[in-house]
Symmetry: C2
Subunit: 353 residues, 2 copies
DNA sequence: CACGATGGTGCACACGTGTGCAAAGAGGTG
DNA sequence: CACCTCTTTGCACACGTGTGCACCATCGTG
């Protein structure tokens, strides 16, 4: 009665397949497949019986096989430069929320801004046949972009507003240039004229945009930017650099000039600056105003609480994921740019007399 | 010459398969498969020719098909309760590093301590046939554990040292009880006798262990624990609660009693306590000592820098991933418990006279 | 009763890869 | 030359699922 050519499926405790259900129900595996998909090709009684049997046998569909057959894996690759970065954390949260709501799984990879690793990661994504990629890396090297465009894999970048070469890639970002202008205008309105900038070398695109906003705002106010006011953390071969340490090391170099306020590339740099001030006995904001960027959690908890430019991190992630989903649906999508918002706390005040 | 039964593979810009290479090289797909695996069954000239051809055609193996055939997906599911939590961030980093080194992909899922979501997540992992699971959720509900053991999926838990029901699951953790003792002993040695505890309700296992360490250490020193000294943040139905806010709200309730120091469940609670002290004009550590737990980055940056119990977060992640790999190799593995370390900074000092 | 329409089911193939086994070819030896 | 051995390759199946098409049964109608 039983067809003996199937070599004992129960051997290695393999999960039950539709074939197993088919044998148990006395139908073909096609019928089971259709029944489980509620196809109205199958007679209602059979459909119900198969479904109950599947339930009872603890059937769980094999997504690997489904991915192979249908050409969708329902998987999205996610590249970030650092998981420890609180900025990335919020963005990922937004991404994950939308992904989970749409039954998409996320493949997480951390690049540490290592070019070699970046290439490895996208090759892994290709091998795994992800439906698309979201890249929230701080820095975008030529080879990386080139590879990504070349293989025509649906991709959305976060905070990488298109310059020159990146034109063809989709992105969602918060406007760095405008954000920087908000920060510097705030300091100008408090009466500061000599305003410094502490930047980072290893995220040159966003650093350049924020720096440009800084320069243009000062120029527009009739202040000539002094090279002595600007310090940028060098690019180390060590990819695990710490922004706070950099900010702390950078600030003292500014003291030779006579700045009364400093605009920092991000909140961590700003926290470093605050710590340096404390060490040097400089009172913030009475003797020195400090502005950060990002508005990560920590900005609220340091002393004094940091005035900073709030980026809609959660929203960035949500939008990026939604955009990718739309893209996969074949809908027309367009780059999006979100506005930032100044959050005034206690690290800024009028300049000393 | 060409066999016409294959319907134009070039139609939908599908990635090249070994079949395509086989046709181009005039051999069978089996030969290509073996050649690409450097099998010495294949003649060296053919092997080289196929490899070069594969390279030239931009062949990238289909991991989905490989997963279906071989019974390994080289994928590990990762469940965490919150991505924004800085503690989780470091742990994930450790996990990811080891995973990437062993060419394992990570499927990231966030549970937000939502029981329903937890069950959905592990079902997704089952569907995707992950090789194993690492769970770093703060809280482990019965149904979750039960399901995880029941389906016999290789699993490693982080910071969930086995109580009763969880005996069968592997875990790597840092000793909460001993860590709490370190913290309280430090306060005792400074001369404090009336020491408070600020806990959390929604992570009851670890909270219970730390609280037990707190109680026992006080008792051993001959101090009777006063119920007035202990406050625990209530469990909200809102799963996105904020520890800092909780700590801030909890501290004032302690002031009625006459504690001179407070041990907090984690650094975020402690930061909230610091902020409450500042608002109330209580000087730390002169009038009140505060100790945290975890040693997340932020602990170094608040004012005053936080004395805390350092957990080897990176190491926890690395060990968990390595343990899972060993488990998959069939090696014998055993639960591991790491030691914590007290980090004395400036938020603790002798009690006021 | 014969024939067509309709609804339900199974066959067979496809997705892309890996592998046991047979077969074919080459080369050596008696 | 016949036979055996060894190397190299292809056939065929497997992994688990989905689906076009053919087949069969049943029913209705002329």
């Amino acid at each position: 009665m039983g067809i003996p050519d199937r070599p004992k499926r129960t051997s290695a405790r393999r999960p039950v397949s539709i074939q197993d259900i088919a044998e148990a129900a006395g139908v073909s595996h096609s019928t089971v497949s259709r029944a489980l998909h509620n196809s109205d090709l199958i007679r209602p009684e059979v459909r119900l019986r198969v479904q109950q049997l599947a339930q009872k046998m603890g059937y769980i569909p094999n997504a690997v096989a489904q991915s192979l057959k249908g050409q969708r894996t329902h998987t999205v690759g996610l590249v970030i430069s650092s998981i420890a970065d609180p900025f990335a954390g919020r963005v990922v949260r937004g991404i994950e929320e939308i992904a989970q709501a749409n039954r998409i799984s996320l493949l997480l990879s951390v690049s540490y801004n290592d070019p070699e690793r970046e290439l490895e990661i996208i090759e892994t994504f290709q091998r795994r046949r992800v439906d698309g990629v979201i890249s929230a890396t701080a820095q975008m090297r030529g080879a990386y972009v080139q590879r990504l465009t070349q293989i025509k894999m649906p991709t959305v970048m976060i905070n990488q507003q298109a310059d020159s070469e990146a034109d063809r890639l989709l992105s969602v970002d918060a406007d760095d240039y405008a954000g920087a202008r908000l920060a510097v205008e705030h300091l100008l309105s408090l009466g500061h004229r000599r305003i410094g900038y502490l930047g980072v070398g290893n995220r040159w695109q966003s650093n350049r945009r924020r720096f440009a906003g800084y320069c243009d705002t000062l120029s527009a106010a009739g202040v000539a930017v002094n090279a002595q006011w600007v310090r940028v953390a060098p690019i180390l071969n060590n990819p695990r650099s710490d922004d706070v340490v950099d900010g702390q090391a950078l600030l003292p170099a500014l003291l030779g000039s006579d700045v009364t306020a400093v605009f920092c590339y991000n909140d961590l740099i700003a926290v470093g600056a605050l710590m340096a001030c404390r060490e040097l006995g400089i009172v913030v904001p009475e003797q020195m105003s400090v502005v950060g960027y990002d508005d990560v959690d920590i900005a609220r908890y340091v002393t004094p609480p940091l005035t900073t430019v709030h980026q809609p991190k959660l929203r960035l992630g949500e939008l990026a994921m939604q955009m990718l989903l739309d893209l996969l649906e074949g809908q027309a999508v367009h780059n999006t740019s979100l506005a930032n918002e100044l959050v005034v706390r206690s690290s800024t005040g009028p300049p000393p007399l």
